[in-house]
C-alpha cells in the first residue's frame, strides 16, 4: 500500500463563462422566433398605412377566392391523414411484430421515401401519371387503345391526395413502429397465458397500446399535408385550384398583397397550434405503455403461409412512393424525352451535360444549397445542443421558457415563417432579404424543434451524475461537457446534424417566398424548372440532390470523435 494521503494541489479558481453564454443563446432564440411572428401579427391586423384593422380577415372569410382554398386544404389534409394511417398501421405492425421476411429492407425503403423531397415525388408522379404523357397512361393505352381516356390524372384533387400521402405516411409509420418496438413483450405474454390466441392478443392488447401513437401520427400527417407547398403547387395549379399555401404564395406575386398574405397565414398557424395541443394531450396519456423497467423483447407473430403475401403487400405499397417514382426519374434523366421509355439505343447523357454545363443557375443553386445545408446543420446542432443541455440540466432560471421557444417553430408552417421573415428582414434595422442569411434564419428556425427534441432525448439518457462525477473531481463545467457529455452524445449529435442537412435539402415552402435570383437553392430551381416544363433537368437535379445527401451523411458519420464506440457501451448507469 503506497497510496499517498497528501491532498493534491488545490485547483486554481477559474471564471465561469457559462451563464453569459447561455443568456446570449436565449436572446438569439427570441430574435429568431418572436421577431418574424410579431411582424406577421402586425401586418395581419393593419392596413397599408399600418392602421389597425380587421379588414384583412373580413376579405379572407367572405371572398370565395380564399374560402375555396381553405376548404380544399381541409379536404386534402383530412383524407391524406386517413390514408396514411390505413397504410402505415399494417405496414409498421408487419415490420415490427411479425416474422415477415425482409423486415429491415422494408424499414430502409420507408426511410428512403422519408428522405425524398415531396416536391420531387410530385414531379416524378407527373412523369408517371400526367393525363397525356404519363408513362402509366401510355402503358394503359397500349392495352386500351390509342384514344382511350387517361387512366390516371395526377392534376386533380385525388392525385394531390395520393402524392401527399405517399410522402407523409412515413411520419405515421415511424411513430407507430417505434411504439410497437418498445412495447414490452410481457404485456402480450400476459394475454397469451390467460388464453388469448395471437389474433385476440393483437386485437385486445397490441393495437389499443399502439393507438395513441397512431392518432399522434395522424395529427402530424394532417399538419404536413396542410402546410406542404411543393406538391400542391406542382399539381393543383395546373388543375386550376389553390390550397392555402399556394394562395399565400400567389399573394406574394406582383402586385404583392402582404397584409392579406399575413392574414391568410394566421388560420394555418392557429390550426397547427390547436392540433399540436391535441397531440400533446394524447401523448401525455401514453405513459401507460412504458411502465416499469426490465421487459423481455416482444415475441413475433408467426405468419406461416402469409409471410410472403405480407411482403408482397409491403412492396406493393412501396411501389408508389419509392419504386415507380425513382424509375420514372432515372428514365427521364437518361432519355431524350422525359416521358418516353428509354432503351439502350436511345439512352443519352445529354440531360446531365445540359444541367451541369448549360443551365446557368445549377452551379449557383448547388453551391447555395451545400453552403446553407452545412451552415444550418452546424449552427442548428450547436444551438439545439446548448438549449437541450440547459433544459435537461436546468442550468439557468427560465430554462423552461427556453425549451418552449425552441419547440415553438413546430407550430409555424414553413410558408408562414417565410412570410414572417420576409416582413421582418426587408426593412431596417435588419435588411437581410436577398442574402443567404435570411434563408439560413428560415432553415434554422424550421429545423430547430426536431433537432432540439432529438438532442433533449439524447441528453435524457445521460445520467446527470456522470457530469457531476467529473465536476467533483475537478473539471469545470466546460471540461465536463467536452470530456464526458460530448463523447456520450456523439451518435445523437451526428444524427441531428444529418437530419437538419436533409431538412434543408428538401425545404421549399419557406424558400419559395424568400429567394432572389442570387440566392436560389436546389429546391427552388427544381420548382422553377417544373414551371418551364423541363422535367428531364429536374430528374437529373433530383438524383444529384439525393446523391449529395447520401454522400454528406456518409462523410459525417466518418468524422472521428473521441469515444466513438460510446453508444455500444452505454450499458451501465
Amino acid at each position: 500500500m503506497t497510496l499517498t494521503t497528501t491532498t493534491s494541489p488545490a485547483l486554481k479558481p477559474r471564471i465561469d463563462w457559462t451563464r453569459p453564454v447561455l443568456w446570449l443563446f436565449a436572446a438569439v432564440l427570441i430574435i429568431l422566433i418572436l421577431l418574424p411572428l410579431s411582424w406577421l401579427a402586425v401586418f395581419a391586423f393593419t392596413d397599408k398605412n399600418r392602421h389597425p384593422t380587421l379588414a384583412n380577415f373580413v376579405t379572407l372569410f367572405s371572398n370565395p377566392d380564399f374560402l375555396d382554398p381553405l376548404l380544399t386544404t381541409a379536404i386534402i389534409a383530412t383524407t391524406s391523414a386517413l390514408i396514411c394511417c390505413i397504410v402505415a398501421a399494417p405496414l409498421s405492425w408487419l415490420v415490427s411484430r411479425t416474422d415477415m421476411p425482409g423486415r429491415q429492407t422494408i424499414r430502409a425503403l420507408v426511410t428512403a421515401s422519408f428522405v425524398t423531397p415531396p416536391f420531387l415525388g410530385a414531379v416524378a408522379w407527373e412523369l408517371l401519371a400526367a393525363p397525356n404523357s404519363g408513362l402509366l397512361n401510355q402503358l394503359y393505352r397500349l392495352f386500351a387503345g390509342e384514344d382511350a381516356d387517361a387512366l390516371f390524372n395526377i392534376y386533380s384533387m385525388t392525385g394531390i391526395i395520393f402524392v401527399i400521402s405517399c410522402y407523409t405516411f412515413p411520419f405515421v409509420f415511424v411513430l407507430v413502429a417505434n411504439a410497437l418496438d418498445t412495447m414490452p413483450g410481457e404485456l402480450e405474454d400476459a394475454s397469451a397465458i390467460l388464453g388469448g390466441n395471437a389474433w385476440t392478443t393483437a386485437r385486445r392488447v397490441t393495437i389499443p397500446l399502439a393507438l395513441p401513437a397512431l392518432v399522434a401520427g395522424a395529427l402530424i400527417a394532417f399538419l404536413q399535408a396542410m402546410t406542404l407547398f411543393g406538391s400542391p403547387a406542382i399539381l393543383a395549379l395546373p388543375a386550376g385550384f389553390h390550397t392555402m399555401t399556394t394562395k399565400i404564395w400567389s399573394l406574394f406575386q406582383y402586385p404583392p398583397k402582404l397584409e392579406l398574405a399575413a392574414a391568410a397565414a394566421v388560420p394555418l398557424l392557429v390550426l397547427t397550434i390547436l392540433l399540436l395541443q391535441g397531440q400533446k394531450a394524447l401523448l401525455g396519456r401514453r405513459g401507460y405503455s412504458v411502465i416499469g423497467g426490465k421487459y423481455g423483447a416482444p415475441r413475433r407473430v408467426e405468419l406461416r403461409g402469409w409471410r410472403w403475401a405480407a411482403l408482397g403487400f409491403c412492396l406493393l405499397v412501396l411501389l408508389n412512393p419509392v419504386f415507380l417514382p425513382y424509375l420514372a426519374l432515372l428514365n427521364a434523366a437518361f432519355s431524350p424525352n422525359a416521358t418516353t421509355l428509354v432503351t439502350p439505343s436511345t439512352a443519352t447523357l445529354h440531360n446531365i451535360v445540359f444541367v451541369f454545363t448549360e443551365l446557368s443557375s445549377t452551379q449557383l443553386a448547388l453551391k447555395n444549397t451545400v453552403i446553407l445545408g452545412t451552415a444550418t446543420a452546424t449552427i442548428g446542432t450547436i444551438l439545439a445542443l446548448v438549449i437541450a443541455y440547459v433544459t435537461t440540466r436546468k442550468v439557468i432560471a427560465g430554462h423552461r421558457m427556453l425549451g418552449f421557444l425552441a419547440t415553438a417553430p413546430v407550430a409555424v408552417p414553413g410558408i408562414v415563417l417565410g412570410v414572417g421573415l420576409f416582413l421582418s428582414y426587408t426593412r431596417p434595422p435588419f435588411v437581410l432579404y436577398g442574402t443567404l442569411w435570411i434563408l439560413l434564419l428560415a432553415f434554422l428556425t424550421i429545423n430547430l424543434p426536431s433537432a432540439y427534441q432529438q438532442l433533449q432525448a439524447a441528453f435524457a439518457t445521460i445520467h446527470p451524475e456522470l457530469e457531476e462525477a467529473s465536476r467533483i473531481l475537478g473539471a469545470t463545467r466546460l471540461q465536463a461537457l467536452r470530456q464526458i457529455t460530448a463523447p456520450l452524445l456523439r451518435t445523437g449529435v451526428i444524427a441531428t446534424w444529418c437530419f437538419i442537412f436533409i431538412g434543408v435539402m428538401r425545404e421549399l415552402s419557406a424558400a419559395i417566398v424568400l429567394f432572389t435570383s442570387q440566392t436560389k437553392v436546389l429546391s427552388v430551381l427544381i420548382y422553377d424548372l417544373n414551371e418551364g416544363g423541363d422535367l428531364a433537368a429536374i430528374a437529373v437535379l433530383g438524383i444529384a440532390m439525393l446523391v449529395i445527401t447520401f454522400a454528406v451523411v456518409l462523410a459525417v458519420n466518418q468524422i472521428p470523435m473521441s469515444g466513438g464506440n460510446a453508444a455500444a457501451k452505454l450499458r451501465n448507469g
Partner: protein, 353 residues
C-alpha cells in the same frame, strides 16, 4: 485536511423547504452519516456540501474558508472533494483505468506519478485484472469498487457518499460496508455518508445525524441514537421501537393504560402528555401475573408469528394501543389470551419530542 461545518443551512425549492436550518460540525477525519427516510433532505444536504446546489441561506465552511453561502458558492471542481454517487456514475466511454485516473489528469500530474498511483489503488481495490475493461462489462460490486477507487485516488479533503450501496445485493452490501469503513480508517478523510439504511449507518459511522423533514432530529454516536432516542421519530425509525403515549404523573412516572410506569430519559412535567419508547425485545411477556406489579401492563394477544429464532407477538393494551413484543419461541400464546407485560424501568425512555 479540514473539518466541514454547516451553519444554519437552508435550501428551498420554490415554497418547499428541503433543508431547514441544518447546523452540523464534522471534525477532520470523522465519518458522519446522514440517516433518514427518503425525502428527508439528506441528499440535498450532501449536494449542497458538494456545491451542486446553492444554499438559500446559511453557509458551509471547509476548514476556515467559506465554500457556500447565499452570496457566493464555490463550484464543485474547486472544493477538493470526491463523491461516490448512487448510480456510481462511471463513464461508459472510458475504461476502468481511464475512469480512475481522470481526476489525476485534471490535476496535470505527470505520467509516472499517475501510473504509480493507479497501480496502488488498483491493488487496494482488487481491480488489477479489470483495468482495461469498460464499466458496462463489470458486475455491480466491481463497478462500486471502481467508483470508490476513482474517488479516493485524488486524495480528497472530503469524501461524500450518496447511498453508495443501495444498488448492491445483500451479501455484497455487507462486505462493502466494512470495506468503506476500513478505507476510511486507513486514509482518515472527512466523510459524509448519506443512507436510509440504519444498519449501514450503525456499522460505518462515527456520528449519525438522523434527519426528518429537512431538519436534524438527533445527532449522536450509533449507540446514543439506538439506546437513547430523544424523539418519537428517531425511536420509531431506528430499530422500530414501541411508543406508548400517556400522561406524566411526575418527573419520572407515566400513567399509561391504567398502569404507572417508571421511566428514564427526558424529565417530565406532571399532568402533561408524555411519550415513552421501548424496544420489542426489551418487553417481557408472561401468561401469569408477575411477582411484582411494578411497571407491568395487562394486554390481549392479537397476533403471533413464529420467526425461527423467536416469535413476533402483537398485543393490545387496555387503551387500544398495539405493541409488538419479541418473545422466545418457548412462549407460544394463542390469539385472544390475556398476558402480562413487564417493561423494565431502565428500558422505558421518556421522549422529549
Amino acid at each position: 485536511m479540514a473539518s466541514v461545518e454547516l451553519r444554519g443551512l437552508v435550501k428551498r425549492f420554490g415554497s418547499f423547504v428541503a433543508v431547514d436550518a441544518v447546523s452540523l460540525t464534522i471534525d477532520h477525519g470523522q465519518l458522519v452519516c446522514l440517516l433518514g427516510p427518503s425525502g428527508c433532505g439528506k441528499t440535498t444536504t450532501l449536494r449542497l456540501i458538494a456545491g451542486f446546489l446553492e444554499p438559500s441561506d446559511g453557509e458551509i465552511r471547509v476548514g476556515d474558508r467559506v465554500v457556500s453561502s447565499k452570496a457566493r458558492t464555490l463550484p464543485p471542481e474547486q472544493r477538493n472533494m470526491s463523491m461516490i454517487f448512487q448510480s456510481y456514475a462511471l463513464w461508459p466511454h472510458m475504461t476502468v483505468a481511464e475512469n480512475i485516473v481522470y481526476g489525476l489528469r485534471l490535476r496535470k500530474m505527470d505520467r509516472d506519478t499517475i501510473a504509480k498511483k493507479l497501480a496502488a489503488i488498483l491493488a487496494t481495490t482488487r481491480l488489477e485484472p479489470l483495468a482495461q475493461r469498460y464499466p458496462g462489462e463489470l458486475s455491480g460490486g466491481q463497478q462500486q469498487r471502481v467508483a470508490l477507487a476513482r474517488a479516493l485516488i485524488v486524495g480528497p479533503e472530503t469524501l461524500l457518499l450518496d447511498e453508495p450501496l443501495s444498488n448492491l445485493d445483500a451479501n455484497l452490501r455487507e462486505e462493502m460496508r466494512f470495506e468503506i469503513r476500513r478505507l476510511h480508517d486507513e486514509y482518515r478523510y472527512t466523510t459524509v455518508y448519506v443512507t436510509h439504511d440504519q444498519s449501514e449507518a450503525m456499522t460505518t459511522a462515527d456520528l449519525i445525524a438522523v434527519m426528518n423533514a429537512g431538519k436534524i432530529d438527533q445527532l449522536g454516536s450509533p449507540e446514543d441514537i439506538y439506546a437513547r432516542p430523544e424523539s418519537e421519530f428517531v425511536a420509531r425509525f431506528i430499530g422500530a421501537a414501541n411508543v406508548l403515549k400517556g400522561t406524566a404523573r411526575d418527573a419520572t412516572h407515566v400513567e399509561f393504560a391504567g398502569a404507572v410506569l417508571a421511566v428514564v430519559g427526558a424529565r417530565l412535567t406532571a399532568g402533561q402528555s408524555a411519550a415513552v419508547a421501548i424496544r420489542q425485545h426489551e418487553i417481557q411477556l408472561s401468561t401469569r401475573p408477575p411477582a411484582t406489579a411494578h411497571n407491568t401492563l395487562k394486554a390481549i394477544v392479537t397476533r403471533q408469528v413464529y420467526l425461527g429464532m423467536n416469535r413476533d407477538t402483537m398485543v393490545e393494551a387496555a387503551d387500544g394501543t398495539t405493541l409488538r413484543v419479541t418473545t422466545p419461541t418457548a412462549i407460544a400464546v394463542e390469539k385472544g389470551r390475556e398476558v402480562w407485560l413487564t417493561l423494565p424501568p431502565e428500558r422505558c425512555r421518556a421522549l422529549s419530542r
